[in-house]
Amino acid sequence: MGPAISARGVVKSFGQLRVLDELTLNIPRGVTYCLLGPNGSGKTTLIRAIVGLLKLDAGDLKVLGTPVSRVQEIYSKIGYMTQHKALYPDLTLQENLEFFAGLYGIGKQEREQRIVELLKMVNLQDLRRRLAGALSGGMYQRLSLACTLIHEPELLLLDEPTVGVDPRLRQTFWEYFERLASDGKTVLITTHLMDEAEKCRIVGYMKAGKMTAVGSPDDIKRQAGLKPHLELWLKDLEGDCARLRSEGYEIEILDGVASLRLESHEQIKSVLEIVSPLDMRLKEPMLEEAFLQLSEAA
């Protein structure tokens, strides 16, 4: 089994604007993959290209091993959730789910089972007979996700699926996505939220139609050259800092707290041999900083 998605030299222009610029991408099967990037970087265009809604100007794109020109043959294996939500407000939750299940030819018994399971996952099980139009924004989003999952797609393409969803339920979503990935399904998600990207196994950073950084969240931080910091509350701030500096440590003092840059976590031990702080705290670098760094470099 090849990768879920492989793209090589993919180009797509709208008029003068090159939205996908020689983009190369490889998404293995069975992972949660987060596509991050500023507005207008081409994330939605890339997803629309993957599902065959756009004609590519150049490049090679394969989806679940099938060339994108024949992607319609495997539409039953793809779940696609647009930013539009794509639901019928004048149908009940149950009817919306039944409709999308029907498009994929799911039998009645299996359908009922899936509906119960999915409504539970998105925590809407008590509103089955309610009209979708009466739902709040976040609930609408959750129903849209349930409709996208109804046919158990092998490849899930979710364009900003957690907008308007409260943090606790977002956690449930991520656990569900992680479970899908463990079952061998591939989940591709775009988001603006760094803490969400942090939960994905692989993060791809997109800028101006190119992938500028790809890897696990930790890999990305390393690529950006970001290091963890150790914050120290010291009795003798001046003296202790002077001693640490003489050992070659970089220290900044902010509001009476010494912040020390670590090359690796092993260094903590040697720091503690030099000074004995009143208190200390380890600050891991944020993915956000990594991307800021990377996008400035790109």
Partner: protein
């Protein structure tokens, strides 16, 4: 490669039905608007025809007789160009009779089905001719011809066409708005990434809307036949078949034209462009003969022209399905097929 699965068409149809079913206002409009329209058109237009409607074809020679006829207060005189026009209007029930003035003779055409009016017309023509003969010192020759008209009121000729108009109007508007919504709420894009094909989408809509077309045409037919006593000489199922075909045409036209509107508001603006010409040019309220010849080709391109004709044939003359096959059903089928193709093609083009 076109894939068509009956079950997927059924899924789309069921959804359309569920949505419309929940829209009580639309259901109300579907059921009651025909009645309002009929009362409006029917009574308003039948008032125009009060008194005796007499056609007059003047080919010269009888000025005295002409002014005698024109002087009769109960008579509404419609000047016509030829005898065949007069025959047609009588047979449609739009004239009670006609007088053809020729230098050699005077022919009186009468509608055999309304005896009282016929006698009044004949009496007027004969007394006029006698007066004229007396003053000219020459015997007047009056030939009487009876035609078989319908003995119809205005409502009878208009009713069948209103049935067609109502179905066309509502299906067109509802279909166009539904397709605009599919596009704006993103469901159309989702369909494009599902096993559902474009043909299935449109056919699903046709199937779903057909149920409402049936409901609408059944209530309209009941009102027309029982409320307004329009005859139903043919098979009501044949009339429903005509209406369904017309409704399917209206649906694909609405689907096609929804591509040129960005909002529901703009769809409403299509009404003067799409609906009004059909009313004016379909040959029901203004007979085809009265439509200038250079506009007539447009009349013959409009589905309501054929649907109206077919419905009148079935309801008033009792024609069977095979008798209205050509040109009416054929024209309606061609109209449907052309816009079905256009609608499905546009669904694709939108995406690239």
């Amino acid at each position: 490669m076109i894939q068509v699965s009956l079950s997927r068409i059924g899924v789309v149809a069921l959804r359309v039905v569920r949505q419309l079913k929940r829209d009580r206002r639309t259901i109300g409009l579907i059921a009651f608007a025909p009645i309002v329209l009929m009362v409006l058109f029917g009574y308003a237009l039948s008032g125009e025809m009060s008194g005796v409607a007499l056609g007059l074809v003047d080919e010269g020679g009888h000025p005295a007789l002409r002014s005698h006829l024109e002087g009769i207060e109960d008579f509404g005189i419609l000047r016509l160009g030829s005898e065949s026009d007069a025959e047609l209007l009588i047979s449609q029930g739009r004239l009670n009779g006609a007088v053809v003035l020729q230098p050699e003779e005077v022919r009186v055409l009468l509608d055999a089905s309304s005896l009282q009016i016929s006698q009044a017309i004949l009496a007027a023509a004969q007394s006029g001719a006698q007066e004229e003969a007396a003053s000219l010192q020459k015997p007047g020759v009056v030939i009487t011809r009876y035609l078989f008209g319908y003995d119809l009121e205005m409502m009878d000729t208009v009713g069948p066409a209103i049935l067609g108009l109502v179905v066309f109007f509502f299906t067109f508007i509802n279909a166009a708005i539904s397709f605009i919504r599919e596009r704006s709420q993103g469901t159309l894009e989702k369909f494009m990434v599902s096993p559902l094909s474009r043909v299935e989408i449109v056919l699903g809509y046709v199937l779903g809307f057909s149920l409402f077309t049936l409901l609408q045409s059944t209530t309209t037919l009941l009102v027309v036949t029982f409320g307004f006593k329009v005859p139903m000489r043919g098979n009501p199922l044949t009339a429903l078949a005509v209406v369904l075909l017309l409704g399917a045409g209206a649906l694909v036209l609405g689907s096609f034209l929804s591509n040129f509107a960005r909002s529901e508001f703009q769809v409403v603006q299509f009404i003067p462009l799409i609906i009004t010409p059909q009313i004016v040019l379909c040959g029901v309220w203004w007979p085809m003969q009265s439509i200038p010849e250079f506009i007539r080709p447009i009349s013959y391109m409009l589905p309501l022209t054929y649907a109206g004709d077919a419905l009148r044939e079935v309801m008033l003359k009792g024609s069977s399905l095979t008798e209205i096959l050509f040109p009416d059903l054929l024209a309606l089928t061609v109209f449907f097929l052309v816009f079905f193709a256009a609608a499905t093609l546009m669904l694709k083009r939108q995406m690239y």
